[in-house]
Amino acid sequence: MVVNSIIFWLFFAVVSLPYFVLLRKSYKAQNLWLLLASYFFYGWADWKMIPLLAIITIVFYWLGLQIKKNNKDNPKRASHLTTLGVVLGVGVLFYFKYLGFFVQEFAHLFESFGLNAHLSTFSIIMPIGISFFTFKLISYVLEIHRENIQPTKDFIQFATFIAFFPTILSGPIDRPGEFIPQLNKSRQFDYDNVAEGTRRIIWGLFLKVCIADRLFGYTSAVLDNYSHHNATSILIAVLLYSFEMYADFSGYSEMAIGVSQLLGLKVRENFHRPFLSQNTSEYWRRWHMSLTTWITDYIYMPLNVRFRNLGQYGMYIAIFINLVVIGAWHGANWTYVLFGAYHGIILIIIAATERKRRKFEKKYSLKKKAYYKYPRILITFLLVTVGLIIFRASNLSESFEIMQRLTYGYGLPFVNKTAFVFGIPFILLLIFKEFKDENKYNIHFLHSKRLSIRIASIIILLICVFLCGNLDGGQFIYFQF
């Protein structure tokens, strides 16, 4: 049941009607209803994993209360309990997501030494959304230990935060300090929330079906059979893949945020025009923000403090580890590790040259100059695109082969009618909108001051979805993570 399916909207109608009509006077009843709906939603995707979600929620709820209890009286015990929470969260993630991969890699390693490891390959079914809800759980215990938040005594409230259906499958990864307080008051039907939520859902739907799913036809045809295509086709495919990835994931995030807003709940933003970044450091502050801020807060900052006696080198190590973790978070494959390492190295170079660069920019007042800004945006985009070649490949050798194929054999490209006719013009529309938004020209048609223009924009977007969108499209890319 994905947010761009009709079945989801039937489910949403069933959830929201009692939520706003019958239960609107009691926030507790609304929370319980949301929790039941969230478990139903999760069960629809993977009912066998409901016990895991329920048990892990109970354990972390208990841990939260215990950490709070011991924070002042017995800080050591509180620290131990927090460590236990982190180990448990990471352990669950490791078991379901990485164990099979490591067992396989060890078996290969032994075999390369001529030893038979006798490790039969086993596959563990990964619960859908595990990377997202374990991060929520870990942040909960860490925030309580840091005394940034109070643990909630209301179990329903906590379980609703963890299992909240618009975000459980693919984020955004919410923080307890921002989300749980919203569950303390009843949510009323609010015109502004509903209007804004609807606009975001329609925009997200447009990004998904008109851009991401249209480009998928081209990128998959070329990159899955790259040995049969010339360099021009591969170059077009890798450039389009960056947009496909962005439209797919930001489309999902827009819809998830929009659905939450319809329910009167605000969740974290996930994207802030990442392709208009002027360097990759800025890119990571604008791309999948809920994950990058999570990793910055809970991994980069503590590491930076730990390595501070190493001076600048300590910061470089922290940056590198931070990016490798972001890469590895996506899955058990060396390509993700290399993807993280690649970005880590670029970020270290940026950090190492930052002072000189700023001095240079100041000396010649370059910061706002178009001839300085736009080439930087383009270079950043190309660097990100190279990273995504590694990210998309099924193994390391494939990613190197694709890059190698880009160096020779240019000719007439492979043409996919729908990607070129629909996907590319919509990409141009997206770029135009993002540039305008970035430069605060504020001509955003969906947010016009005139209601008639807002309605007309919605109608035009819906017509585009129905006429030009791929209505038989597949899952969201980030569901696999």
């Binding site: 009709i6 079945i7 009323q188 039907f189 609010d190 015109y191 502004d192 509903v194 209007a195 049969h228 009618k417 729908t418 006719v421 629909f422 209601l451 309605i455 919605i458 109608i459 819906l462 017509i463 129905f466 006429l467 030009c468 969108g469 791929n470 209505l471 038989d472």
Partner: protein
């Protein structure tokens, strides 16, 4: 407290009313657009005998030819109808007309649908079906059903095929014109506004040569899909019941074709069972050359001419034996 609750309630009612008005406005506008758009597209699509839709549209709306070629994009660019038709007419002194209805992805559900629609209009004398050797191993190509959607409400054969293959949700969406013409409207519109004569009798000549190709022997162990088999058998039965001379052919490919695959064997068996002439050029050494191909799946113009000549002589031999 009561006052604030009253204000909140009245705000909620106002908000709800405003949202409802906006929602109804959007729906009404979409409905009007859908009706007008559907009307225009119906007019355009039924007059369209160009590009992607020409084959299907021809079968459904305009078929009068005596010799029909059915198949996918390989059929469209490999079979030169003029050449085949002229050879048959010269040999037998007939005045048969011919049309190549080949279209992208067209496979077994289309053959059945096209064959039924052809017969409803006029029974052809000869039908040549171009099959891909692996066609019986696959499941229904759902993405290719989109070509049929514009004809859903006007052709009962199309309706039946789509109803049999599409999900309930798609059948509901089929009530909306925008859904029926999703993506296809562009082709229909451009070919209506800029009609070309580049595709004589449905034939698409391709140019270029395939220089980089490798033929790697690969075993195809995929099982036969019973539904595909049944659909092909139904098509054969319809043709035989109406006394149509049916030929089943496999075009040349610049790739290895496993003649021991279950799907291939099933085609051979079906042809033998119904006594249908079967011509396989998939591994014909005279044809399997890069200079004759546009890509690994489609012949170029030169290749299509050579192939059509070879095929026609086989068809003529087969027809001569019968007469």
């Amino acid at each position: 407290m009561e006052d604030s609750l009253y204000i909140s309630n009245s705000n909620m009612k106002k908000g709800f009313t405003k949202i409802l008005i906006c929602f109804v406005t959007v729906l009404l506008c979409l409905y009007c657009f859908d009706c007008i758009f559907g009307y225009i597209m119906r007019f355009i699509s039924h007059k369209n005998l160009e590009k992607e839709h020409c084959g299907l549209n021809y079968c459904l709306n305009a078929a009068t030819a005596d010799i029909i070629i059915l198949g996918s994009s390989s059929a469209r660019s490999n079979y030169v109808p003029q050449l085949i038709g002229d050879s048959i007419n010269t040999r037998f002194g007939t005045k048969y007309s011919i049309y190549n209805t080949g279209n992208t992805y067209q496979d077994y559900p289309y053959f059945y649908c096209e064959m039924k629609s052809l017969i409803d209009r006029k029974v052809p004398k000869i039908v040549i079906i171009d099959l891909q050797p692996w066609t019986l191993a696959g499941s229904t190509n759902m993405s290719a059903l989109k070509y049929m959607r514009p004809y859903y409400s006007v052709n009962s054969n199309v309706k039946k095929v789509l109803d049999d293959n599409e999900t309930f949700l798609h059948r509901v969406l089929m009530n909306f014109e925008m859904y029926k013409y999703n993506e296809e409207f562009f082709d229909l519109l451009t070919s209506y506004l800029h009609p070309t004569t580049e595709y004589p009798l449905g034939f698409w000549a391709l140019d270029g040569e395939e220089k980089e190709y490798k033929i790697i022997p690969e075993k195809d162990t995929r099982k036969v899909n019973p539904l595909s088999r049944q659909e092909l058998e139904r098509t054969i039965q319809i043709a035989q019941n109406k006394g149509i001379e049916l030929f089943i052919c496999i075009s040349p490919y610049l790739r290895y074709i496993d003649r021991n695959s279950p799907a291939y064997k099933e085609i051979v068996n079906l042809c033998a069972q119904y006594n249908i002439p079967f011509f396989d050029y998939s591994n014909d050494l005279e044809l399997v050359k890069g200079e004759l191909f546009h890509d690994t799946m489609h012949l170029n113009k030169k290749g299509a001419n050579i192939f059509s000549n070879k095929l026609t002589s086989q068809i003529l031999k087969s027809l001569s034996k019968k007469t």
